[in-house]
Symmetry: D2
Subunit: 137 residues, 4 copies
């Protein structure tokens, strides 16, 4: 079962009216989950590579990005007593992290397949954060 459907279903099962468009929200929650998984896996695969010494920046940014995506996904999942200012602050930070991680993974995309996949996922999550930021204000 796709997470996309599950998060959308769960948002719609909430007893209170929505404060942000639920399609925009569900997409960002799903990308945060996917990006957390992708970054956790990319950090781990990079650690196993022979050129691990050249992968330090990639590993560090992937670990950061996984942690930030996780917090962001949880915060955006909550609809009870929604606060716009805090959602905006965290989605902004997540967009920043995803952009930085996408850029670094992109540098290794030609020789490490996990970096290529991860860079693409980071870009999707960055876009989803931008969409949420557009829907908040």
């Amino acid at each position: 079962m796709a997470t996309a459907t599950l998060s959308k279903e769960m948002l719609e099962a909430h007893p209170w009216p929505a404060q942000i468009d639920r399609d925009v929200l569900a997409r960002c929650i799903d990308e945060c989950s996917a990006c957390e998984t992708s970054c956790t896996a990319c950090a781990d695969a990079s650690l196993a590579e022979e050129d691990v010494a050249d992968m330090r920046r990639c590993i560090r940014l992937c670990l950061d990005c996984a942690d930030v995506c996780e917090a962001t996904g949880r915060l955006l999942t909550r609809q009870t007593e929604y606060v716009a200012a805090t959602a905006r602050a965290q989605a902004s930070s997540c967009r920043e992290l995803c952009a930085a991680c996408a850029e670094e993974c992109g540098r290794h995309a030609h020789h490490h397949e996990h970096c290529r996949i991860c860079a693409e996922e980071c870009r999707r999550c960055e876009d989803a954060c931008s969409a949420v930021l557009g829907a908040i204000s």
Copy 2:
């Protein structure tokens, strides 16, 4: 894009040979992500319900289950220097949490749709943990 595909792709992009069947592993990683989202959303929706005082046990177990699924999903995603004993311990704990959370959410399934959906997701994650435990030994 389904997370399922992404986690499987990432596991296969790892430079080292697999220690556990990657289909079994990818399924569990995806269910841990889905269950974390589902439990975070169910705790939040339950908090907004009029009968919130009757939902305390559900909220508490959902919060616990989200935290445990998150740690388990990350640990199972890592393939570098795999250690069977720690994977087994954490997958066992996750199975226990998912079972307890599924049981409690199930009690509220007839009057709260988010509990019905969450109970089903917890059962899927419990099954996926069982499959991992079967693949480890």
Copy 3:
């Protein structure tokens, strides 16, 4: 043993030179840990209160704040391949969350001791984030 000493010791044991003052950094890492614990406990205690229906906003913000403090503490702990822009974005978001949570917990401080303690901890963490932001630029 105080966490403060441990995080400072660990920062100093890192093989690379510091990019941010380590006292400022260690204080913020420790406050993020303390604030995560405080907010997790306050959400849980509020859930057990008889006036739980009036505590929804407090519970929600405490859960958010715990998640954001956790991500921020981890990100600031990492010194390998430090990136100023991402540290700044996440510390800013954490300051915002701590301020919002402190304000809400403060409203319940006179009748719930856990809210009084948690509001104070959130203010300390907010201050520590401000100090980090001052040290970054």
Copy 4:
């Protein structure tokens, strides 16, 4: 301010009677926080070392241990609708992770100070988990 005092204060401010001795619980919550910080820092410092290729197992176990300590600390912090079976399962897994991480960090203690400190912290957390397990049954 020591986290120890804060977590104990917060546990005592909970409106319901304790199910487990609060000194034992507070100690374990504090060690889980400290161990999460220590393991996050040790993984990061190990990544920066010249012999990073020999530190892969240490990095991987530190990342796992940080994630598991985080989930365990949160679960043990919650006193509302306490469930003994799930607390036991997660504290057992945490003890297993801390023991494995302590052993691996211990192997590098003579040449990396961060590993020496981290191994000691993992042992303290392992002991604190054992104490909780003794208090549960």
